[in-house]
Structures are given as C-alpha cells and as structure tokens.
Amino acid sequence: MVGGSLVGRLRHAAGTLLPTDRRGNSYALTLITPIVPGAAPDLRSVLESFGSGKESPLARLEDVHFARWVIVGQLLTDWDGAPKRPSVIESEYLLFSADLTAKAPDAAALPGSFLNQLAEIEESREVWKHCVGFPATGDSDAVAKYLDHGRIQIDLYYAAFPDLTPAEIAHAIKVRRQFADFVLSHQEALSDPSAAQSLRDDYLRESALWPS
C-alpha cells in the first residue's frame, strides 16, 4: 500500500479511478530529461534548426495537436509570491510536452504507441542524444523505453474536443470552409423556393467532391 500523507493516498486512489492525464481519446504527455552538462548550447542550436508549423518534424506525427521542447535552465525565483526558499534544480532539463489524440481503439495504447513513433524519427535522436542516459545503441525500442522513463504524471488535463484527432479537426475545418463557399456561391437560391431542387442537386454534386 502507498505510504505518505492522507492527501497523497487519496490522490493516488482517485488517480487509479480517474486517470488525470487522459480525457476521452486524448492524452497529455510530459517528458523531462536531464541535459548532459555543457550540452545545452548544442541542443539549443539543434532545436533552432527545426522549422515551425508544417515544417516542424513533429508535424509528421499524426496524433499531435500541439507539442514543444523547452530547455529549462534554472527555476525563476523573483516572481511575485515566490517561495522564500525557492527550489534550485541541480541540472538543466529538457522538457517535452504534447497534446495527443488517437482514434478510438488506438487511444488506449497512448502514450506507448506515440513514444514508439517519436522514437522512430531521426530528429528525436538528434535532440535526446544531448540528454543524460540516452541509449548508446540508439535503436528505436531502446529510445522509446528511454523516453518513457522520462515521462511524468500529469495531475490535471483539459481538452476542448477530447475525441477528435488532429486529422478530424483539420478535416472539419476544411468541410466548413467548403460549405461556406458553397453557400456564398448559391446565396440567391437560398431565398428562392423555386430553386430548391437545383440547390439540392448542386449540393449533392459538389459536396461529393469535398474531402471525406
């Protein structure tokens, strides 16, 4: 049985009932790995060499809504209401966080399935090789295992559309835009009852061409 405070035990009990890092088919992933002393500048230039948006290596991973790498140099201590004896971290860390959604049956395999994909891409190796304990062999299984070792538990997670994958959302936006374009090009017919049939025909014909 878990020791520690009552609050800790309650939290643990609640966590086993309601996973706090999961909402529907979505998963909140956070990895923290210590950076090899002195390697941070090299790591920074690797990260800076990546493109953003569609150019980002992370854009190739289909479960990702948002993801980022952050180099944590030291904790800030001078903010309003900072503790009198602030924590000091012993090493620099690399933080990776991602918002993920997978399709229904696959979602249960998160985060493992995603870590396997992440381990496959070359850029991951370039990044995490600057971190302490990165497997020398560099084979995908070992990397995935290494990444999982750096995973930390998330206590609160909110997702606006917990069951929609990035592809589904992109698709919905595309359809919405196409539908708006259709309406704009058939405005006059909308208020003309005699045009209803031709409007219907047009809609069926054109919408059949929209991405499905």
Binding site: D80, R176, R177, V183, L184, Q187, S191
Partner: protein, 856 residues
C-alpha cells in the same frame, strides 16, 4: 478610486485632445546618447500633460519611445530586460504573426530600428484656407519648424513625418462613420457615461474600468499593478500602438452599394424595400454595428434611418428623400455629440439578428458577450486616439469616383493610435483574434468586413436564410505599424538626465511612486478643504512667515574639490531669505514649533534641475533647525499624511484631534522618529537669527552627496524676545534689523558623504557624524539693516515658491524625502497660486531661453 497624478501622465491618453490637425515626427537620435538625452530634455518643458486645462494649448507636444530608443538613451539592461516581449520584438516580425499584417506592404520607414522616438504635435487652431497642409495650419507649421531645429541642434534627424487632419464635419473617418467617441470610461477620470465602462451583471449598470488597464503602475482589472523593478520607467506611462491604415474609399462605396442592393433584394418585399441610399446606409450599419452618425444599431435597428446632411453629401444627391426614422426627429446636425447614447448590450441579441456577430464594434468591444459574468471584455479594452490623414473623398472628383490614383498623394486613411497597458492582452487580442478571426464569436474564421487582412471576406447577417455580404478586395491596408511607450513626465526626466555618479546613490523602492501619489492627493485635498473659504491660501507646510529679508550670499575661499555649481567660482549673489515656523496653519509664536529658513539665491546661471525652469535664474536652499528628519522614506510620509489629514479640515496639522492617530503612527515605527518629531516641535527659540539650520536630507554637489548647515557667526545673546506672543519672533527680527548699520552673518557649510553605509542617502533619520566628515565652509550669508515689515514685502514673500528642486543640476536633491517634496511642492504651489489668483513669477527675471521655447 485610483489616484492619478495628472501632472505626470502625458496628455491625450486619458482625455482626447480632439484637435483639428497634427504632425508626427519619427526621430533618429544622435550617435552620442548624451546628445539624445539632451534633446529629450530640451523638449520636456513643452510636453502637454493630462492636467485639465481652462484653455487648450495652441500646439500640444507629446513624445513616445521605441524599444531601440530606450536602449539608445542608455536605459540599464536590467530594466530593459523587464519590458514586455511584444514591445522588444521587431515589429515587422510581430505584426506578421500577431496582427495578420503583410509588412512587405508597409512604407519602408516603419519598423525601422533607427526610429528611436516619435514626437507628436497636435494643433487646436482653426483650419485656415489653402491647398497645402502648412497653409491651413500655420501655427502647427511653425511648431514643426521649431521642432526640426531642435532635432537638428542635437545631431538627430527626422526620418519620417506623418500629417493628420480631422475631416470636415468633425470626428469621423474616411468611410463616413463617426469615430473615436466610444472610449472606455476610466476610473479616476470623471467623464465616462453609461455604456463606456464594463457591464455589471448584478446591477445592470456600467462601472468604470480600472486605470491600470491603460496607465502603468496603477491597479488593473485583476487587482495587480504591473511594473515591479521597471517601476521608475513605466509608472504613469502607457504603451501605444501606432498604425497607418490606408482606406480604399472608392472600393468601399462600390462594394457596399452592390452588396446592399443584394441584401434588400433578399430581405425585403418590394413594397417595403429601402431605396438605394437607405439600403447602403443599412448595410453599412450592419457591417460596423453603428449607423454612420454613430448611433448604435442595437439602439436603433432601422431598417431606415433619418438621413443627415453628412449622408446626403456623401451620396452627392441634390434632392434626398428623407425617410422618417423609427425614433427621433430628422436632424441635419453633424456636430459631435459626446454624450451620444452608448448604453446598450448584446445580451438580447445573442445571434446577431440586429447587430451581426461579426460587426466591427461588436468584435472590437463585445461588452457583455464574453466570459463568465460578462467580465472578459474589460480585460481587452483600448483607448483609441486615431486621426484621419489624406484628403476627404470628393464625390465630384472623377479620380475619386473611379478610384484612380494618378500619383501617391490621393492616398487617404486613418492613423490609428491606441493606448493599453499590455499589447499582448489588449490590442493584439482585439486586432489579431477578434477582428482578424471569428472563432471567439462562433463564426469560424470570418474576419472583420472592413479590417480583414485577407482579400476575400464576408459578413454573416443572421436570418432565415442568413445573408452573406461578400467582399473580394481589401478595404483597409496596413501601411505601417510601431509599438511605442509613452512615459510619464518623471520617467522622461530621469531618462534624459545627464549621466552622473550621484544618480547611483539613489535607490527608489518600487512602492514609492504610489506612495507619492497618496501624499500628493492628501495634501491637495487637505488644502482644498481647509482653504475652501479662507484667503489667502497659505503654504501647505511652513505657513507662518516671520520675515522675508534681503541678503548677500558670498561664495569665496571654496576648497578646490568642492567647486561645483553655485560654488564653482567666487561671487557675491543677492539673495532672499524667508524665516518661517513649520506648522501648517498660522499660530502664535508662544507655542513651540520647528523653525526653518529658505534661501533664494538670485542671478544664478547654469543647467537647471527642472527642465521647465531652464530660463530661471534662482537657486533655493531649504533648511530647518534640526539635524535629522523624523521619517525614513516616502511610505512613512504617506502614513503620516494620512494620520494628520484623515478628518479633513478639523484634523489639520498636529492638534488634540490628530494626536491619537499620530501616536498610533509613531507606535508602529522606529522610536527615533517619535523622539525627533517631539524634539523638533518642542523647541521655542527666542530669535530665528541666532540658531543653526540643517538640510536634514542630502543633495548633490558635483558628483558627490552632501548635507548643508547654516550657522550664525554673530552674537545675538540678549536680543531674544522678552515675552512670547503671537508675532514675537517677527518683532525680535524687526528690532534686530531696524538699527542702521547692523549686520548679521551666517556660514554656509557642507558635509561630504564618505561612506554610504554610515552616511546613507535614502535614510534622513540617520545623522551624518561630523567626526567622520566635518562641515566645510563654502559661503557666507550677510543680512544688513532693513525694514521688512512692509505690505509689499509681505505680498512678495507670500508669493515666493521655495523648493529644493529650484536650482542647479549640480545641487540636485537626493533621496526619497526630497523626491516626495518635489511632487508635493509642485501640486500644492500650483493649487495655492491658482486659488489665490496670483500667477507665480519667480523673482529675478528670466534669461531668454536658449534654445527658444516652442512657438504657441
């Protein structure tokens, strides 16, 4: 309620000038930062503040700095590092990402890191005749020339000049909409009206928005006051957005007319269908959310609206059919009505049946529409101060009708200016997320019909079926953008101060500016109450004058290392000396009280502390008959001021009524303070000519800190008052000075700070030991026989202003107590002279200012 120091906040932020014309000069400072600071310093006296005026200035001057300008002026890295990223990032990059701009469309002068400062001139003069801007506004032209000369004097250059001019018919923009009146009501500025503040869901009324949403350092809607360590720079300042927005008026007219015809066709039966002009006006109102006369469409849904002169001019129709509106009488008035009804909400129109969800004003200020408790909008408000540029659209001109621009000079648009405390949370949300996207309002990526950054756009008007007004061209194009900071006057002064090692001796605690605000407010309120009926209004401190005597201030035999400022070279100056008692009201000399002298040395040349006194020739020294002060810092002064003024006039000064609060005040503090306070007040000298006076607080002397001592060197034993009565000290001095041929002398000495630890600058409760640093004589004061009890001398004395801040930069007052003194002196002497109806004239005349002042 916020305590706003209107004398410290630049004008046109909290209240709009509403002037006819303006010119904005983009300035690159000289390579030498010292020269840059001199230019700012030279413009400082001309800056118009937020103070209420009885008569507007002919030309108002304001200035704002870019991030690179602050760097250029030598602001410390540690302070620069605290400024928001939005302000530090190159604007060409930021505008592309956050604002949807295409900076490739911009005029090349915008986003140029060489622009350090923008100076804004605004003119209240009436528009003259003439084709050129300069001919229509000659006074503005002269002020511009003057400014160009100053820029040239200081090795700076003007990179760009933008002129703005109100359109005929007042506050409106080129598309014909009345503009610029729907501003947030700001707490502490008393001219808001319903509909301008934030909606209050409980009372159904409107409350003012906290000043900290616009003026930094004050409480904002979240109960924070931003700045922290950058406080000295940011306090009383505001971040400013400057955007040059080109408007395609011809395209707007064509497009709205075309879409309006479709709209009425789709929505109205033929017999109800508005005519061409009414249809145009209706669709224009749907697009913006206001009819073009400014009336909110929520308050008057139409579909027809009384046509105004403005509208008929716009459509160039000789005979305009007047449609009676659903409310109100037909009006031809085009003048700005500041109290235009603005009291409406969107709660009853959730789907945009009256005002479309994507209408411009509904996006820019969604009022009660967003957030829990309808409070979200309050955190995203901006104060707008835009002005049109370019000639008005001329429907008689073929070029305008065709939209042809034979040369560049037909360009017209709006110089959009807005103020906020946080670019990212305020302006960028309004522009980037609310106007350039529709997601916040459930309308997908639909952009503002007028402002939208994409070529194609639409406006959805709710109904069954909905109507979509479409757009295939951009109506507004951004031609340039700058993010600027408009500092408070104190901050400008400090930014532009000559580099000096003395400055490093001072440490301003972050709470100090707010405490200064409190003290100033209490002192002014107290004077207001106390002197509501009685005249003349006396000084806030040291009200009672024993004598104002003429004297000689002789500088001689000064050790070489102390030769600075007034003590630079040997000279005999004329001086006035006021002997006074410290109590804030007139009392009998029989009561014990602290005594003071204020010395005004005449005919002094050299660089002054206050930029506004560049042309004066006086140097003041202020001393009292005690060696240490009884309070440590400004926060204590604020507590003390609360204690002695809390009950208004009945609690003025130290009295039985205020004693309990004073006891409480001192009980919480260092015991030394109470002891000093008691010692100061219990003295009852029998002759002001026979005692020593100390400055208590430190001053600069060249590059060091010193304290002053004035010590009598003559013998006054046996001359004291025989009995104590109301004016016995005046009588003693009169008796002493009336015999012909007498002469009284004092030594003027300075004590140099040796170690900052034992001789601190920021704590005047600490006595600087004269063993550690003995006083050194630098001048002699000589008072000769005279009769000072003359009415004219009394009047003269009563109107003199003494402040340690009147004087040379070399003798700059140091420490918090001196800093608060300055604010109090400024506010209270202005109030006093205003109430007494006597303008302040510093004696000794003025030198012709060089460089000359800005022509008005």
């Amino acid at each position: 309620v916020a305590e706003l120091s209107l004398y410290d906040i630049q004008g046109n932020i909290l209240r709009g000038y509403n002037f006819n014309a303006g010119a904005h000069l983009f300035v690159e400072l000289a390579r030498d930062p010292e020269e840059g600071r001199r230019l700012v310093r030279c413009l400082l006296p001309e800056v118009t503040t937020a103070r209420k005026w009885t008569k507007p200035p002919v030309v108002a001057l304001n200035m704002a700095l870019t991030y690179s300008g602050l760097e250029w002026l030598g602001v410390d890295e540690s302070v620069l590092g605290l400024l928001p990223n939005a302000f530090r990032e190159p604007i060409r990059h930021r505008a592309r990402v956050q604002l949807g701009d295409d900076p490739d469309d911009w005029e090349p002068e915008f986003g140029n890191p060489a622009t350090h400062m923008v100076v804004f001139l605004a003119s209240s003069e009436c528009r003259g005749d003439g084709d050129s801007f300069a001919a229509r506004f000659p006074k503005l032209g002269r002020a511009c020339d003057w400014l160009q000369d100053r820029i040239g004097d200081h090795g700076a250059s003007c990179l760009y000049r933008q002129c703005v001019e109100a359109l005929p018919g007042g506050q409106r923009e080129h598309f014909g909409f009345r503009d610029g009146f729907g501003q947030p009501a700001v707490e502490g500025v008393l001219d808001g009206y319903p509909g301008q503040g934030a909606p209050d869901p409980d009372t159904g009324a409107w409350r003012d928005i906290k000043a900290g949403e616009f003026i930094l350092g004050h409480l904002n809607e979240d109960g924070d006051s931003t700045p922290g360590d950058a406080e000295w720079l940011l306090y009383d300042g505001s971040f400013m957005v400057y955007r040059k927005l080109e408007q395609e008026v011809t395209e707007f007219r064509r497009l709205v007319a075309q879409q309006a015809a479709r709209y009425v066709q789709a929505r109205f039966e033929p017999e109800d269908r508005p005519d061409r002009i009414a249809a145009f006006e209706l669709l224009a109102a749907k697009i913006v959310g206001r009819w073009r006369d400014g009336t909110a469409i929520e308050l008057d849904p139409g579909p027809r609206r009384v046509a105004t002169q403005l509208v008929s001019d716009w459509h160039n129709e000789a005979a305009l059919e007047l449609h009676p509106g659903p409310r109100g009488e037909p009006t031809l008035d085009t003048k700005v009505d500041h109290h235009l009804d603005n009291n409406f909400r969107y709660g009853d129109d959730p789907n945009g049946g009256i005002c479309p969800l994507g209408a411009h004003i509904r996006r820019a200020n969604p009022r009660d529409q967003l957030g829990k408790n309808e409070q979200e909008s309050a955190r995203h408000r901006i104060i707008r101060r835009g002005m049109p540029y370019g000639p008005p659209y001329d429907s008689a001109s073929e070029e305008d009708r065709e939209g042809v621009r034979p040369d560049g000079d037909q360009e017209r648009g709006l110089v959009f200016i807005c103020f906020n405390a946080d670019f990212e949370r305020q302006f960028e949300v309004v522009q980037g997320q609310w106007c350039n996207d529709g997601n916040a309002f459930g309308i997908g990526d639909e952009q503002d019909y007028v402002l939208g950054s994409r070529d194609h756009g639409k406006l959805t008007i709710d109904g069954d079926p909905p109507f979509f007004a479409t757009r295939t061209e951009r109506l507004v194009r951004t031609r340039g953008c700058e993010y600027l900071f408009m500092p408070g006057l104190r901050a400008l002064e400090r930014l532009s101060a000559p580099a000096s090692p003395v400055s490093d001796l001072e440490h301003i605690p972050p709470e100090e500016p707010a405490a200064i605000g409190t003290v100033v407010r209490l002192v002014c309120e107290d004077m207001d109450t106390h002197f509501a009926v009685s005249r003349p209004v006396l000084r806030g401190q040291h009200a009672k004058t024993h004598a104002v005597v003429s004297a000689k201030f002789i500088v001689e035999d000064v050790p070489d290392d102390l030769r600075a400022g007034l003590f630079e070279r040997d000279c005999c100056y004329k001086a006035w000396i006021r002997f006074s008692a410290s109590h804030p009201t007139l009392r009998s000399d029989a009561k014990p009280d602290a005594q003071g002298i204020a010395i005004k040395v005449m005919g002094v040349g050299g660089e002054k502390i206050l930029p506004k006194e560049r042309w004066l020739t006086t140097q003041d020294f202020i001393l009292v008959n005690h060696d240490v002060f009884f309070m440590r810092d400004v926060m204590e002064v604020a507590g003390f001021a609360r204690a002695i003024t809390a009950t208004g006039s009945s609690g003025h000064g130290v009295s039985l009524r205020t004693a309990p609060r004073l006891l409480k005040f001192f009980a919480r503090r260092d015991r030394r303070g109470a002891v000093t306070f008691y010692e100061m007040l219990k003295t009852r000298p029998d002759n002001p000519l026979g005692i020593k006076y100390w400055s208590e607080t430190p001053y600069g002397l060249g590059d060091r800190a010193v304290k002053y001592l004035v010590r009598p060197t003559h013998d006054v034993s046996g001359m004291g008052a025989e009995k104590s009565d109301w004016d016995s000290l005046e009588d003693v001095m009169q008796a002493a000075l009336k015999q012909a041929g007498v002469e009284y002398t004092f030594d003027f000495l300075v004590q140099i700070q040796r170690k900052p630890t034992t001789m601190p600058v920021e704590d005047p409760m600490v006595l600087w030991s004269d063993q550690e640093s003995p006083f050194i004589k630098v001048a002699t004061i000589r008072i000769e026989s005279q009769d000072f009890v003359l009415q004219e001398r009394r009047n003269f004395g009563e109107n003199l202003i003494f402040t340690p801040w009147h004087g040379l930069w070399a003798h700059r007052p140091l420490g918090g107590i001196n800093r608060v003194r300055r604010a109090v002196y400024e506010a209270s002497s202005e109030l006093r002279h205003g109430l007494n109806g006597a303008p302040h004239n510093e004696p000794g005349g003025e030198v012709t200012p060089h460089p000359p002042r800005m022509p008005q």
